[in-house]
């Protein structure tokens, strides 16, 4: 809207100068009533023609589609603004235009529900949609899931390679920028991270602790590749080698060097700080154990003026896993935080409270009257998160025997300490083809859940793909998961793993790719 005002001012300035021009305004993603209103109010409507540029999903990789709209999260979940729904619904329609109408739809949360309704409404408008070939479809299931169904997962530190890259350097629309510390050269290098980079594809989903050994073996492998040149006998061989292998080797060599550099930087950063303790605190928060210690750790971080946003992330995690922080602790932590990082953070605290990310527990009058000891004794009451976590078996029983190298469970993405709630939930929905038996989980999570399943008898397999080739998973095993409000690389990794394990092909669509810090940055409010 401010932009509109600028445009209007610009035109008015031109007019005063006597410049006669017509203007074209390109509105992304579409023209809004309020924007046109401003142009009208400023008296410049007559000079402009308005065009729209629709935003659609951007394929970031072969299985990731993103709208790249990080502001979606704040706009809906904080401000209740539904203006972006249109874009999301339209993107779903566009997919279905290409792939056929998706027969089975499951949704969790308010936003999912509304997007689904809007999508259906838009589908019903004549001329906006013609489905390719009746009942055919190439995607069998659509799962819409609201970010607020699972805040815990993005709030945790990521420990997969891809996740760590995002946490440490920040991946922007699939691109990462490596600075001097990684490349060892003066200029920075911008790298596109996709599955086309062979080395990256192999390590992106790995737990960080196993990446190094892989890279070193890869390096040896490359060396033998290079060594082949000594064994070349004829000119023909030589030509072959130079033409095909060398190029490939060079390429891999380059990316290998970069990834090793990146690993080193990550390792350095993590060992310098108190990452270990941070992780330990996270894990015990997830388990709901050692609360006193956790709070002390948070307090220490505040007092020492460590990175405010990371500390805030821990506080949110504490609040999420405990249904809010007990009043006394909440107030003391908040005051100390404000004293350390400035009172302006009050604005952010308010937003977090509004979102339900960081809340103060309602003081029950009965608890108040009891002594402090009794209040603590009353605490072990299970929080919503703990209930869900138990029900879905999110926390593996023994961390010790967890094989991070050859994982057998999705929990490996968090060092075997925790399975992402969202992913586990998706697994369960797919296994049960709906919410039967999941009612008590769905009820605890915010918003409604719904499913719309086309009766089985009508199920037309996507073309004849299931008969012609057995390698391609049939349409009913293809699942489109749409995260409304963003998803993390860790979740993507977990879903990829789930897909391999259970024979699904997941396509992940999201409004943006996020992580704990990005999520909070959306909500942080600074005095303008």
């Amino acid at each position: 809207m401010v932009t509109m005002k600028y445009i209007a001012d610009h035109i008015n300035a031109d007019k005063r100068k006597g410049v006669k021009m017509t203007y074209k305004v390109l509105m992304v993603p579409r023209k809004l009533y309020i924007c046109e209103n401003i142009l009208e109010q400023e008296g410049v409507y007559g000079y402009v023609t308005i065009d729209e540029f629709h935003l659609d999903l951007v394929p970031l990789d072969k299985d990731i589609l993103s709208l790249e709209l990080p502001e979606f999260f704040r706009s809906f979940f904080l401000d209740g603004d539904q203006s972006w729904f249109h874009t999301v619904a339209q993107s779903l329609i566009n997919i279905q235009q290409l792939m056929g109408v998706i027969p089975n739809v499951y949704g969790q949360g308010r936003c999912a529900k509304m997007v689904h309704t809007l999508m259906k409404k838009m589908l019903s408008i004549p001329d906006t949609f013609d489905a390719p070939g009746g009942n055919k479809y190439e995607i069998g299931h659509l799962i819409l899931i609201d970010r607020d169904a699972d805040y815990v997962t993005p709030l945790c530190s990521q420990v997969t390679y891809e996740g760590l890259l995002d946490d440490t350097f920040g991946i922007d629309a699939g691109f990462i920028e490596f600075g001097k510390d990684v490349t060892g050269k003066d200029q920075t290098i911008k790298l596109l991270l996709t599955s086309q980079d062979e080395v990256y594809d192999a390590i992106r989903n790995k737990h960080f602790s196993t990446v190094f050994s892989f890279l070193s073996s890869k390096a040896k492998q490359l060396q033998t590749g290079y060594d082949k040149r000594h064994a070349l006998e004829s000119v023909r061989d030589m030509k072959n080698f130079v033409a095909t292998e060398l190029r490939d080797l060079k390429h891999q060599h380059k990316s290998l060097a970069l990834h090793i550099g990146a690993c080193e930087v990550i390792l350095n950063k993590k060992t310098k700080g108190d990452f270990e303790e941070f992780l330990r605190t996270e894990h015990s928060l997830l388990e709901g154990a050692d609360m006193r210690e956790n709070i002390n750790y948070i307090e220490e971080r505040i007092n020492r003026q460590y990175s405010g946003i990371q500390t805030l992330r821990l506080m949110c995690l504490l609040s999420q896993t405990q249904d809010g922080i007990a009043s006394r602790e909440f107030r003391s932590l908040k005051t100390q935080f404000l004293q350390s990082d400035g009172f302006d953070w009050m604005l952010t605290f308010f937003n977090l409270k509004k979102l339900g990310l960081l809340t103060e527990q309602e003081q029950a009058p009965t608890v108040k009257s009891l002594s402090k000891v009794a209040a603590i004794a009353a605490l072990p009451r299970k929080s919503a998160f703990q209930a869900v976590s138990k029900k879905l078996n999110l926390i593996p029983k023994s961390i010790e025997n967890f094989d991070l190298k050859n994982p057998t469970d999705m929990a490996y993405v968090f060092s075997g300490a925790y399975t992402p709630l969202s992913c586990k939930y998706i697994e369960q929905i797919l296994a049960r083809e709906g919410f039967t038996g999941l009612d008590d989980v769905g009820r605890v999570l915010p918003g409604d859940f719904f499913s719309e399943i086309r009766p089985k008898s009508q199920k037309g397999r996507g073309g004849q793909s299931s008969q012609t080739s057995h390698l391609e998973p049939s349409a009913s095993r293809v699942v489109l998961v749409y995260f409304l409000g963003g998803c993390t690389y860790t979740e993507i990794t977990a879903l990829r793993f789930l897909g391999q394990q259970k024979g699904y092909k997941f396509i992940i669509a999201t409004t943006a790719i996020t992580n704990g810090v990005k999520l909070l940055q959306q909500v942080i409010e600074t005095p303008s």
């Binding site: 401000d79 539904q82 004549p126 908040k334 009050m346 604005l347 303008s528």
Partner: protein
Amino acid sequence: MCVDVSDHRWRYNFKMALSARNKLSVDEDESYWNTSQISQSTKKFNFDDDVHEEWDTAKRFSKSAMKDLPFEEHEDVINWDGSATSDAVAFKSARYRPPAEVAGSAPTGRQGGDLKAKNVLTGKMEADTRPSTTCITHSKEHDRKPLAMTHSRSASLTLGKTSDSDLSSSLRNHQTSVPNFTGSQPGIDDIVHHKKTQQTATEIAKLESEVNFLRRAHARQDRWTKLEPKETVKQIIKGEIYSLELYKSKEDKVAFLDAAIESHDGNAITAAVLYLRNTVKKSIFNQELMERAVAVSHYLQYLKLHYDFSELLDMLGMLGRNEEAAILKYKQSVAATNPEVKLRNLQTCYRTHFETDSSISHDAGHVKQQIELLERQLPIEKSDKQMELEGRTRIFKEHPRKASVLDTSVITTLYYCCFYHYDLSENSLACPSAICKKHGLTDKQFMWVALSARSRIRDWKGIEALFTTKNWYGGTKMKAVIGFEKVAEVLHKTGAPPDAISKYLRLVDDSDKKLELGKKYKCHEVVIDTLVANREKGELQAYQQKLVPHTVEFYYAADALRNSSIKWKS
């Protein structure tokens, strides 16, 4: 259904179309042709079913179709076809026939359509006359080539593909809106069928351009008919041109708002809310808005984006969202860059929004603290700046100030004061302990800050004093609330030499920890002593190997190893 009757009806419809041709858009004629041909060739004109299926769309267009027949042009009709006179008259009366009569012969569904159409006619008379102007200009062209116009099969086919389904259905609607008519005129359709093969490319092109023109005209005409709120919302969703002007009654406006909310399209909701705001008085607007939470949030969002803060504050107040209002006011207050202005703003904000509301007393405390902090920082900054400029005070010379203390947090201010004003008496503004008292800081908060500040300034005595507590007997005891291992860590981080660290490292109870930290911070004596205490000869020997020969610690380790009084393990 009887084929005969339907045929009659069809003929009638055709005739109607012809008779009304001058007023109707050609476009509609075309589509009419299209539909009638299709229905003839495919089925035996299952008219009623058709109507039922298309009822929804038909309903909407009954209005636009009706008003395409302005009264002034009935003369034309008579000229064209003698019997049409009665048709036209009857038609006119058919429109005004009481619904009960209509129901007698028409399928029940149509009745509503007639009623609707009538409502529009009576309600919007002035609107009816307007569109005829466009039609009249057009009718001239009609006169030049009377029949050929409507008979293009190929043209109608292309049309069928490209034309709005809106238009074709509007024509079908002609069939429904004038239902109980059975005047038959044989022969016309024969002529029509006969001629339809004669078409040239130019004619088609002409027709097409005409169609386009009329389609635009049609869109313009929509403006004068009140659409169902749902339809308007659909137009908004599709990004078409729409008009809200015809929603005059409050009920209509509210219905439109509800339709927008139901659609979940934010843009439509905002449009509906703003339209409501601009057209009804404030009290009604507020009342309707309050009943719809979604509308409220969109309105608030709009105000926020519009920087209309006074209205936003009013709204929040009305909604009883005091905390949000207070926070908003606070946000505005702290936006000031000049500290003095900021202080004044905060004071007003505190008085008006925070002081009185007990539900946000916790945050009120914070605002108060911020005010007090600013009140403290201002004079400190002033005098320190002066001192720095004069350059007579040693500490400012040795450690020039990196930044102003203004607008920093409590802890940073405390650090600043611990750094520059550690020894001031308690009644001075810049005294650290006075700050602690005022802001209710905990011992831990103070300890962390004081420790790192004094360590930076190499004030080892001051640090020692921090941990020294006197007990009852006058003896002294070392104690640190944050634990000595953390003390050592802070000292190390602030660049203290190993000797200074060692002193406190020795006070760590856990010997394993002591060993680990000692190695990390290179406090060799502590490591050696610990190893001796643990009687670990092997480890000590290994450690000695790592030390640089001929240094103090090397000899210290050698001494310990040579000491015969130590009973080594195994």
